[in-house]
């Protein structure tokens, strides 16, 4: 009886565990504009204290390591309705509130190799657009823009 119960539990776990572990739950995915095997997955879009927090996974689907290199200061939100854009927030020392950074150069540089079939996570904090647009776009250097993103309600 015990063995049967354990078996049943394992079957259930086996059927759901891989999904949980491997799922990306991406809100939207965009390709690199230099290498279509590199994709950025927007996995979180959170609004709190008039600040938009974004989390992304940079995924290397190719068979070799790829170098990614950009400055976080180049990340921005676009409010097309009101023709405005908002750059990533910077702290009192001029560093972008974003990461991970390979160096503090120019407010924070993202210069990393991503091995084949591996992922790097990034995050950034940006101002919530002032005019309450229905949708926004997010621009990440080197990738096609994430468009028509619906902002969630403030937490």
């Amino acid at each position: 009886m015990n063995n049967r119960l354990i078996s049943l539990a394992l079957v259930l776990i086996c059927s759901t565990a891989p999904m949980t572990l491997w799922s990306t739950d991406a809100i939207q995915t965009q390709e690199s504009n230099q290498n279509e095997q590199i994709v950025a997955e927007l996995t979180q879009l959170l609004v709190k204290d008039n600040i938009v927090t974004v989390k992304l996974k940079i995924r290397n689907n190719s068979t070799k390591s790829e170098k990614m290199d950009w400055y976080f200061k180049e990340i921005y939100l676009i409010d097309e309705q009101n023709q405005k854009k908002y750059y990533v927030l910077k702290d009192s020392e001029g560093n972008c509130i974003a990461g991970p950074t390979s160096s503090d150069a120019d407010g924070g540089r993202f210069e990393f190799w991503i091995d084949a079939q591996k992922v790097r996570n990034i995050w950034a904090k940006l101002p919530l657009p002032t005019d309450n647009p229905d949708h926004i776009s997010l621009s990440i250097p080197g990738f096609l823009p994430f468009e028509s993103l619906q902002l969630p309600a403030q937490e």
């Binding site: 078996s7 927090t53 390591s65 170098k67 702290d91």
Partner: protein, 215 residues
């Protein structure tokens, strides 16, 4: 424990292990990030740093023939060089192993086509501010690596000047030796990582663009 149960346990642990290894290293957002962001936002005032979204338009002052083909060639060169183009600069990294023989700073003949592409990008960008930095792996003394990387950066600058009308004032040259690795020189167990070292042996070009200079 019966056989079926053992098989199921094995499958479960295999799936779990594969699932774990396919995951990335999560980089948690620092605990003080939101506090810093609130302070940064307050500093920006009611407009929250909003900038007008409009493309900078340049006036057309003449008819330029072959512009389209130049643009196509520029894009191809940037793609071939795996250049990283941002608002303010174009970043290009060339492997030291392609440019130079071991322990030498004379440019290899095989590397000339690649350097010609770099030169085309520099000329196409109309940049007058180019930083060339040489980098090495960690084999050898720091002092030696710094000198070798500087000589290599200088050799590249000299070639670019020889092949163009660019003056020495347009270039900043640095030998950074082993101080700025982009990959590990050794593996976690302390053994040599030749692939990582190969990545670290490089010459980087930072080409400041017009837009970057305006900021």
């Amino acid at each position: 424990m019966n056989r079926l149960l053992r098989i199921q346990l094995t499958i479960f642990f295999c799936l779990y292990a594969v699932g774990l290894t396919s995951q990335s290293d999560e980089t948690p957002i620092p605990a003080d990030a939101q506090t810093k962001a609130i302070a940064a936002l307050a500093k920006l005032g009611p407009k929250r740093g909003a900038l007008p979204l409009r493309a900078k338009m340049l006036p057309i002052v003449g008819v330029v023939s072959g512009l389209k083909s130049d643009m196509v060639q520029m894009k191809k060169n940037l793609r071939d060089l795996r250049a990283r183009v941002s608002d303010s600069e174009i970043l290009i990294a060339l492997s030291g192993d392609v440019l130079f023989d071991f322990d030498k700073w004379a440019i290899r003949k095989d590397a000339i086509p690649m350097l010609q592409k770099v030169l085309s990008v520099i000329i196409g960008s109309k940049s007058q501010q180019i930083t060339i930095s040489g980098h090495s792996d960690s084999i050898g003394s720091e002092e030696y690596n710094q000198k070798l990387s500087l000589k290599r950066a200088e050799a590249v600058r000299d070639w670019l000047m020889k092949e163009s009308k660019l003056s020495a004032n347009s270039f900043t040259v640095a030998g950074l030796g082993e101080t700025k690795p982009i990959a590990p020189n050794s593996r976690p167990d302390g053994s040599d990582d030749p692939e990582g070292r190969q990545r670290n042996r490089r010459v980087e070009f930072s080409i400041q663009t017009l837009k970057g200079r305006a900021n």
